[in-house]
């Protein structure tokens, strides 16, 4: 039982909309798994199926070895959830909401709760209806993170948080991971996922478009390299001939190009005799990976050349 979450061929339709269309997702125990996709890709639907709030039409979903629908109550003792759009009870203060959720779970460590309240700088006396979006989000985060559970299902948990609180959130999630908890982090804040996740799954129109560790995914995509050399024309000629090098171009004394992951060793060998004076290698960011997956949609929106050969990764 080394996988906290196993989803295979999951299908969920709402009327004519196919929200999940054969989704596969594996989250290993103890990892922070980034779950990426634009609005409407099916991230929230997946999490709601995993919580037993929605019943899948087809496919299989296992959560901590149990069935999310029929074992919901038993599983929920071991799972904490933060929705992306938190609605609180309008007449309950934030503190009352946190404690209510804690008691329904079967008790919360007050010291841990207070520590989280302090770190997130939450005023717990404010009534639910008077909180801003970010503060509502903090209430849900404190309630979920104060719980002692194995798996955190976080559905765009930082929507509305300011950068300082975003940093606190990342710190707290890292601590949770260090304690051996598993985290499924749905997000479209790519920097956040890049900072936290061991592995990511990119979902697109209800299917997993790409899944793996960040290192694996990076090796699938090109690294952009800029070198300063004595004879740029010569360098351009030599590099341009190598397999796996794309878009080589010169810019004064610099040559800039993109390299497929597997071709990188060969390129480094070829660079060695060229008298390199400076080297800037820029591995693909998650943003590059993500945009590549959605490149045809971007093209459809008229947003430039992010198609097959073109690349966003470049020298700045």
């Amino acid at each position: 039982m080394s996988d906290a979450i196993t989803v295979r061929g999951l299908v969920k339709t709402f009327g004519r909309t196919r929200a999940l269309d054969g989704l596969d997702l594996v989250v290993r125990t103890g990892e922070v798994h980034g779950f990426l996709g634009p609005n409407g890709a099916g991230k929230s639907t997946t999490i709601r199926v995993l919580l037993g709030l929605l019943r899948p039409d087809a496919g299989e979903a296992r959560l901590l070895g149990g069935d999310p629908w029929s074992d919901a109550v038993a599983l929920h003792r071991r799972v904490a959830y933060v929705p992306g759009d938190v609605t609180l009870w309008p007449t309950l203060s934030g503190g009352e909401s946190i404690d209510l959720l804690g008691r329904l779970r079967g008790g919360v460590d007050p010291a841990r709760r207070d520590a989280l309240v302090e770190r997130f700088e939450l005023d717990t006396r404010v009534k639910g209806r008077a909180y801003s979006k970010g503060n509502r989000q903090k209430v849900a985060l404190v309630a979920a993170l104060a719980a002692d559970c194995e798996l955190l299902l976080l559905d765009e948990p930082t929507a509305g948080l300011d950068p300082l609180m975003e940093a606190v959130f990342q710190e707290v999630v890292r601590e949770a991971a260090d304690q051996g908890r598993t985290v499924l982090l749905s997000s479209h804040i790519l920097a956040e996922v890049e900072a936290l996740a061991d592995r990511v799954t990119i979902i697109r129109q209800g299917r997993a478009a790409l899944s793996g560790s960040l290192a694996e995914l990076r090796s699938l995509t090109r690294t952009s390299v800029t070198v300063g050399v004595g004879d740029a024309d010569d360098a351009l000629r030599r590099l341009g001939g190598l397999a796996g090098v794309h878009h080589a171009r010169r810019d004064d004394g610099h040559v800039t190009f993109e390299v497929d992951g597997p071709a990188l060793p060969g390129v480094l060998t070829a660079l060695a005799p060229l008298g390199v004076s400076s080297l800037l290698a820029h591995p693909p960011t998650l943003e590059d990976l993500f945009l590549r997956q959605y490149s045809d949609e971007l093209a459809g929106l008229g947003l430039g050349p992010a198609g097959g050969d073109g690349d966003r990764a470049g020298v700045r």
Binding site: L54, P90, L92, S93, L100, K127
Partner: protein
Amino acid sequence: MTAVLAPSPAPAPSRSAGALAGTGGLVRLALRADRWTIAVWAVAVAYLVRTSVVGFAALYPDAQARQARATLMSSPAATALGGPGYGLDDYTTGAMTANELGLWIMLPVAIMAVLAVTRHLRAAEEDGRLELVRSQPVGRSAPVVAGLVAAAVATLAVGAATFALLLTTELDPAGSALLCAGVVVAALVLASAAAVGAQLVGHARTANGVGMGLVGVAFVLRAVGDVQAPESGSLWSWLSPFGWSQATAPYVLDRWWPLLLGVAAVAVNLAVAFALVSRRDLGTGLLPERAGRATGRLGGLAGLTWRRQRTSILAWGVATALCGALIGLLADAVVEFAASDPQVLQLFGETDDVLDGAFAVYAVFLGVLAAAYAGTAVGAARADESSGRAAVLLALPVARTRWLGAQLAVAVAAVLLMLLAAGLLMGGSAAATLGDADQVARLTGAVLVTAPAALLVLGLAVLVLGAWPRAFPLVWAYVAYVGVMGMFAAVLPDGADLLSPFRYLPRLPAEGMDPGAVLAVTALAVALGSAGLVAFRRRDTLA
């Protein structure tokens, strides 16, 4: 609702009318969102009014029968729940309609108008829609005007539809026009007063409470006034918008001038509302909000439900209990008046029978109030589900049946306690006025025996929530149906109340106890509720 402002062509620069800019678009938006609600209200009210009038004519075909009815209606108990009694000396079908039905048209239409105003003013502001709207070239007062116009259109539609159907009856068109105008004006006065209240408080639920409170106060003021002196002879009646509309005495005096008071009141309310709206920030009320507790003591779902519902439960409970007490206090007036008029006894039998008959009718009235509360209790559960609050709880180790069951348990307890309190107060005050201690137990029993019907409404609401949540408005339609049947089954065609649970319960104390019927209705209520819980466990949660 997915109503969307249609993209409009570039606005003519000269058209911006300051605080009122953009009103037209907002009115269209509001009417678009409300169009079905308005249509259902108009058709339902108009149809029920026509059916009742036809029922009056059939049930009291000649002057003698109507005169006997008039004698009965002159009793304080009937006056309190009816009208000031114009034309009782020559009780035509028209006079009967205005006196006995008029208030019961005004009351629901006023509630509809008040809810429309608070919905458009505060609810939109609370969920942030208004912020989006106000960021457009839209004036500060425009949403107030739009909300009021939407309420006015709804009220006018109900009034016009009712008038149109009344034209198909034997009633005088001039009187019908005045009756319907009275309904519209009373509703608009209360709606505009609710608009003022909505500026004072910070939230939609509170604003709804303020609006409903105003309707209740208006109802009680005219009840007190009319009981003190018939034909609007008391100042109290003239403090109530319902009193003004009733003072027009449709079909009897046919005077229009009392409606001028209403028109003036609407103007004053609007002026105050506009003055207030320019003084407060978006998303706040003029009255300050208190801070809450930093840590919570709420221990569970029942505690949460009570915390969320207590205002509603207490409001419904106090209203029901006060109605019970009022009915009990009027008991000796019923006896006096029965004894004073041999004709009544001839028609309705012994004095005790007259009294018990009246008590049986009012017991059902109290049961209907409890049933309406039951509908709101399940409606609150549905609102929690569609807002996403339920999902947060269901993601905890909380079974669905526990989540809904805890709310049901609170609702069942509230229904029973509310009826017990109303029965005890009705029995106690009747015992005091009649000097007959036995009434306490008799009337408490009479009121409590309606509980299975209220619980059946609760069970049905749970079934709709579990099996067909999007059809929840049907529950309100059913509550309205049960209410109308509880009050007016006697004048409606035979079998109209076949679907009302109150029909099948024994009418204590006028009839004997029928344990079989009580058990059957209770069993059906439990079955519906259980089926609802099972269906709820099987379906996807909303939102």
